[in-house]
């Protein structure tokens, strides 16, 4: 603490230096001193990201488009499948190199989101269970969401160096808070009467968590996953500043050369990826029963496949016994069947 000569009570701040910036700068020293322990972990994580990317790149674009469209159909219905199909074709048409760049970005986003779920869901569950933990973690989450990314970019690079792993870390910092918040919210919103009933029938706390609370909180948790994906995608340009490749890097380089055309191509590519991932995850959040089927395998391409042998066997109704129980008095069952897609 140093107090300058011209200390003024009207303007005390310019004469006071508590040395916060110097203290924070000490992280750098700590990081370089601990490089030996960090490097092996970093290498393993980097290999993981590269493996995902290699897998995505090895699939021919047309096959990948078909696979993703089928996945979208299964998870989110036919309408979403059409949107995904159109969006991916548009992505391929953007630029000859766009597809490969998009797969690189997709790999880093998928890895970030996976890490966010591994970190965020347990923290969210803890926050739901403990008011004290919730109030302790809330300012931390606020900070993570509002602090400019450039501020922690430098310490992270000091700590682990440039590359994919740093990219994943800065993305997690920015993208994990909504998942923690919404996991906690989802569990807190579960009907306490149902939880009490589970307790009254002898369920342990972990059984209540996995058999009651998490399934019932799932739509809210999936909304959190959706938000995490969107925020991860919005970080790819910033992450490209620390040598993460992909669409973000394309935008960054175009900006440096004032090449508006290339920047727009990269930007649109990111938007299209966002649309695809958003529609698929939103469909997952909505339960299959809302779309009129009892089990996931009764709709989409899998349902169609399963229905083929059934249809060959004397063209009987595709799902006689499973869906058609006794008639519902209020006709709800019938409505569901009609809404099926």
């Amino acid at each position: 603490m140093a107090v300058g000569d011209a200390f003024s009570f009207l303007d005390p701040f310019s004469g006071l230096d508590l040395g916060i910036a110097d203290w924070a700068d000490g992280i750098k020293q700590w990081a370089s001193a601990n490089r030996g322990t960090i490097q092996p972990v970093k290498r393993a994580l980097n290999d993981g990201v590269l493996a995902v990317e290699a897998a995505l790149q090895s699939v021919p674009p047309v096959l990948m488009i078909v696979l993703l469209a089928l996945l979208a159909w299964q998870l989110s219905g036919r309408r979403v499948a059409v949107i995904v199909l159109a969006a991916l074709v548009a992505l391929g048409l953007l630029d000859p190199g766009a597809w490969a760049l998009a797969m690189t970005t997709l790999a880093i986003v998928l890895c970030s989101v996976a890490m966010c779920m591994i970190i965020g869901m347990p923290l969210g569950i803890m926050a739901a269970k403990s008011d004290r933990f919730e109030s302790a973690i809330r300012p931390v989450l606020d900070t993570m969401q509002t602090i400019p990314a450039f501020v922690y970019l430098v310490p992270v690079v000091m700590l682990v160096g440039i590359g994919n792993v740093s990219g994943v870390i800065v993305t997690i910092v920015f993208a994990v808070p909504p998942l923690i918040r919404l996991t906690s919210l989802g569990i807190r919103q579960v009907n306490q009467g149902v939880v009490e009933a589970a307790r009254a029938f002898g369920a342990s706390s972990s059984q209540i968590m996995f058999k009651v609370e998490l399934p019932l909180a799932m739509p809210t948790i999936m909304a959190g996953v959706n938000q995490t994906i969107m925020l991860s995608l919005s970080m790819v340009v910033i992450a490209s500043m620390i040598a993460v490749k992909g669409l973000g890097n394309e935008v960054l380089r175009a900006m440096g050369r004032l090449d508006a055309g290339k920047a727009i191509v990269g930007g649109l590519g990111i938007v299209i990826l966002a649309i695809v991932l958003d529609r698929i995850t939103q469909g997952v959040a909505q339960s299959g029963r809302k779309r009129g089927r009892r089990h996931w395998w009764q709709g989409g391409p899998v349902g169609l496949l399963l229905a083929i042998p059934e249809g060959l066997k004397g063209r009987r109704s595709q799902d006689g016994s499973a869906r058609r129980g006794p008639a519902t008095p209020n006709g709800k069952g019938r409505d569901n069947q009609e809404k099926e897609n």
Partner: protein, 364 residues
């Protein structure tokens, strides 16, 4: 286990609450001490300690196979009380014993086992799990105990058959009407074949016709299964229909415990009297309660000719007496094992239906 159940058959109560207290608030221990020392009222405790009394010094016991109704208005503490039996709520003071076991002394695992196998609970708001099919809901208690899927499906389907929902096992709760949902709740409670049923206002949320149907169905089931039942309700009619004994609860205290007939004919205080005022006595009150002893009657009216009088038994209801007295103008003779013990004339019958008892105290 066998030892315990045989003991309870020898007259030990299946459920017993001993001096149960429950307070809500911050400084519960101090409040409890000063309540014990100075016997404060509910209002004084709230004023001095900021603690709310939910259950106040409640003791009762339920015998094997008995249906014990606790009747009280909302806020009387009855739902809090029933949750002490399977320790969903920890008592502030006092003990709960189930079949000779102190529930408060059980470890977590033993407590879960008790909840899963010895007690089944039905809730006012059904509390079915919306993400599970009817069958999965019914089989929940078996699932948490780790029974394999095949055997629990079998047991669940049997329970679903008992509540007459055969064929609905694959459905989800939101596809069922309210009455059907509560039947699922009942099936869930009986699936693990518990010896004790805890019913927390199970039929209160249903409309009157459905409620009546479910009451009938429940009474039929209770008659067949002989389960010891603690039944909470805010509806005295329901308590009288269903209960072998009724406890009236008010502000956390059991005001009166007795058979439906005792409650209706001998209300302990004006609070209970107000409640039973509107209750029809026709099916509840028996001849033995309204009859005048034969000797007293003959002393007043002279010798009674038994030739053209109709006879009834002491445990016949007023409804039956009214039916008989339509057919004759003579007083009815009440016979116990063939010996005349009392007389019911028109006046005492009508007074009995009105609920003005005891009759002998009335002038002229």
């Amino acid at each position: 286990m066998a030892g315990l159940s045989s003991r309870s058959r020898n007259g030990e109560p299946v459920i017993e609450c001993r001096k149960l207290w429950k307070m809500f608030g911050h400084d519960i221990e101090r409040a409890m001490q000063s309540v014990r020392a100075d016997s404060l009222s509910k209002e004084e405790v709230l004023e001095r300690h900021g603690c709310v009394i939910g259950v106040q010094d409640v003791s009762f016991s339920v015998e094997e196979g008995e249906i014990f109704c606790i009747m009280g208005l909302s806020g009387s503490g009855k739902s809090t009380l029933i949750r002490h039996v399977n320790r969903l709520i920890e008592p502030t003071a006092g003990e709960v014993w189930i079949e000779g076991e102190n529930v408060g002394a059980l470890g977590q695992a033993a407590l879960r086992e008790l909840r899963a196998s010895k007690t089944g609970m039905v809730f006012q708001n059904m509390a079915l799990m919306p993400h599970r099919t009817v069958r999965e809901n019914v089989a929940f208690a078996l699932e948490v105990r780790g029974q394999d899927r095949r055997s629990r499906t079998e047991v669940a389907d049997r329970a679903i058959d008992i509540v007459e929902l055969t064929g609905w096992g694959e459905r989800y709760p939101d596809e069922l009407s309210g009455g059907m949902q509560q039947r699922v709740g009942l099936a869930r409670a009986i699936a693990a074949d518990p010896r004790i049923l805890l019913m927390d206002e199970p039929f209160s949320a249903l409309d009157p016709l459905i409620r009546r149907q479910l009451q009938d169905q429940f009474m039929q089931l209770a008659g067949e299964m002989k389960k010891t039942t603690l039944f909470i309700t805010h509806d005295l009619d329901e308590a009288i229909r269903i209960g072998d004994r009724i406890a009236i609860m008010r502000d956390g205290i059991l005001v009166q415990v007795g058979t439906p007939e005792q409650i209706v004919t001998e209300p302990r205080d004006s609070y209970v009297a107000d409640f039973v005022a509107g209750i029809s006595k026709l099916d509840l009150v028996t001849a033995s309660r309204v009859m005048e002893p034969l000797a007293a009657f003959e002393a007043r009216e002279g010798r009674l000719s038994t030739a053209n009088s109709l006879t009834a038994r002491p445990d016949d209801s007023l409804d039956r007496l009214a039916e008989l007295s339509i057919r004759t103008d003579a007083p009815l003779i009440i016979e116990d094992d063939g010996t005349p013990v009392g007389v019911v004339d028109k006046k005492s019958l009508i007074r009995g239906i009105q609920g003005r008892l005891p009759l002998t105290a009335e002038p002229g």
